[in-house]
Point group: C2
Chain length 345, copies 2
């Protein structure tokens, strides 16, 4: 949630209205209303009901923005796309409706993982292309239900409409903070080690349709270590780490040589650029105290098959020098543009 | 929620999948999962958290389906539309973005009213037309927030994206059952009196953009009477009463002469047809025991300015003869087609 892909800074504007305020302070009750702790500005909003925390997230997936659909015409495009491998993967090969449904649900499950909360239930609103058949609508719902069932998060309500535009799917998911306090973006501290699960880059080649939201991994992380801050990598490692830095009032440096790069990204012209900028990885990016990282690496290997990497460090903010830096093997450090990245010359 | 405007019967299909089952039995715990009581098939899904009930609804409002936007081109249309008054109002004069935002939030507030629960918080996902300005996005959000503030339901999260299609807005709202058990569609009993708030028909002429969701009225009804079943009139009186009958396993007869017809509907060629079929009224349609209706009418008048009408009765279902009937002043009864209605010959 709150992955604002438009250029409006609308979330900032809404925050300023005072109706819902952001998750600026870690753990604090920002009191936007009765039982509302954290408003706009994290992966999920945190609500309190009789002492138990309920979290809520919504994500709208749009045809042409978050996926392309398999159609007769897109099949032709698919063949032509397969011939080239762009440096940074920004387009999507066509997906089946079942894959789209799976992705819609999995994105919200990933938001739950990012807050380290247990997924509970989901409601789905779908705007179908007019003319879609019952069988097609069922394929979409089968994908939604597949992801929901795998992660114990049933679909409990829905709203289905047809229109003359392309397919839009909104998933709203509730989570319960049964594994401890929700982990916010805002708790990163200077000296923290920055870590990430899995491998990054090139997800649009296919993995974005079948990724496994890191719900179990988030739960395991909670058991093994104190998580200072966490986010899921949806917009891209650099953008999402920047979100953490912004909310925490810190900066970060990434070690270029240790970023885990996915196999499809390694085949590209710019593997590190793809890993830093592609997005849609839905891996967990998190910060732990400096004394805990080694211990976590050791105990993690005994408990999980998922790769875990130390990729950087939280540092103090400078004056007007940006919040994100990239460091090479010999310690040279340069500012990292969050919209992509610049090579070392 | 669950106003399935497509022809798919998708909700029925989803129900059969067993992931989430419908609200077929009044008050019973249908157990679709941990803490989930009522799944797909009512105005809101009912969840239970540590003994307190949380309800959730989502509604996607789509440009061209649920509203038309004011643009240079639509302004021309508005002028031409104003000249004619169709018998049944199915088209929308253009609306401002602020009105659209208000309506999106108010529709979900109306779902809370329909279940007689207190609105709590909302999250909103917006797919903006590409090219919309910051000022335009702010107008939309100002409308959302206006409705939220009026009814004490803050906006706590959001997801904003731009795309090349028309405007889509999804509001997901949580409610709390603080006024007693949620009122389902499924509790109507043979002999019940069917009642409705306000006046019906012609809402698309303007009222659908500024209606007051009947949240206070739902709370007052709870205080004054035992509500057997309730729904808000969104698809149209006949369709929505049919939903109640279907979920309750009963039929209903409406008295043609006492249906409250709105002023714009009275100006149409077919006032009763407009009141029965137009929809978007967002009034409360409910059933109370036969002994309670007179008493309610008397006590209501002392407490509320909103019109309240007795419009019919719940009757047993026949064999294959339909669930909805219309009765004229001399007691002639004929079947009412839920997609519209037929005049007495």
């Amino acid at each position: 949630m709150v992955k604002e892909k438009s250029e409006f800074g609308l979330i900032e504007w809404i925050r300023r209205q005072g109706v819902a305020t952001g998750a600026g302070g870690a753990g604090g009750n920002l009191g936007v209303g009765d039982g509302v702790q954290v408003g706009i500005g994290d992966d999920m909003a945190v609500l309190e009901l009789d002492g138990e925390q309920v979290l809520v997230t919504c994500d709208m997936l749009l045809e042409g923005v978050h996926f392309e659909l398999e159609t007769a015409e897109s099949q032709v495009k698919k063949l032509s796309v397969a011939k080239e491998e762009p440096a940074v993967f920004k387009d999507y090969p066509p997906a089946s409706l079942e894959q789209v449904g799976y992705k819609a649900m999995a994105c919200s499950l990933s938001d739950c993982a990012a807050m380290a909360v247990e997924p509970w239930v989901a409601v789905v609103a779908v705007a179908l292309r007019r003319g879609m058949s019952m069988a097609e609508a069922q394929q979409l719902h089968a994908g939604l239900q597949d992801a929901g069932q795998k992660y114990g998060c049933p679909l409990v309500g829905g709203d289905t409409t047809s229109w003359d535009e392309r397919l839009a799917i909104n998933v709203t998911m509730l989570g319960r903070a049964r594994w401890g306090e929700p982990v916010l973006r805002s708790g990163a501290q200077v000296g923290d080690v920055v870590m990430v699960t899995g491998e990054l880059g090139g997800s649009r080649r296919g993995r974005h349709l079948s990724f496994e939201p890191r719900v179990a991994e988030a739960k395991l992380l909670r058991e093994l270590v104190e998580l200072h801050a966490m986010i899921d990598v949806s917009d891209g490692l650099s953008i999402d780490l920047d979100h953490v830095c912004q909310e925490s009032g810190v900066a970060a440096v990434i070690e270029a040589g240790v970023v885990p790069i996915s196999e499809p990204a390694r085949r590209s012209d710019d593997p590190l650029g793809a890993a830093l900028g592609d997005g849609e990885d839905f891996e967990l990016l998190f910060c732990v105290g400096p004394g805990q990282a080694d211990e976590l690496m050791a105990s993690w290997a005994k408990r999980s098959q998922v790769r875990l990497s130390r990729i950087g460090e939280i540092i103090p903010t400078g004056q007007g020098q940006g919040r994100l830096f990239l460091q090479n093997d010999i310690g040279e450090r340069k500012r990292l543009a969050i919209s992509g990245w610049e090579h070392f010359k």
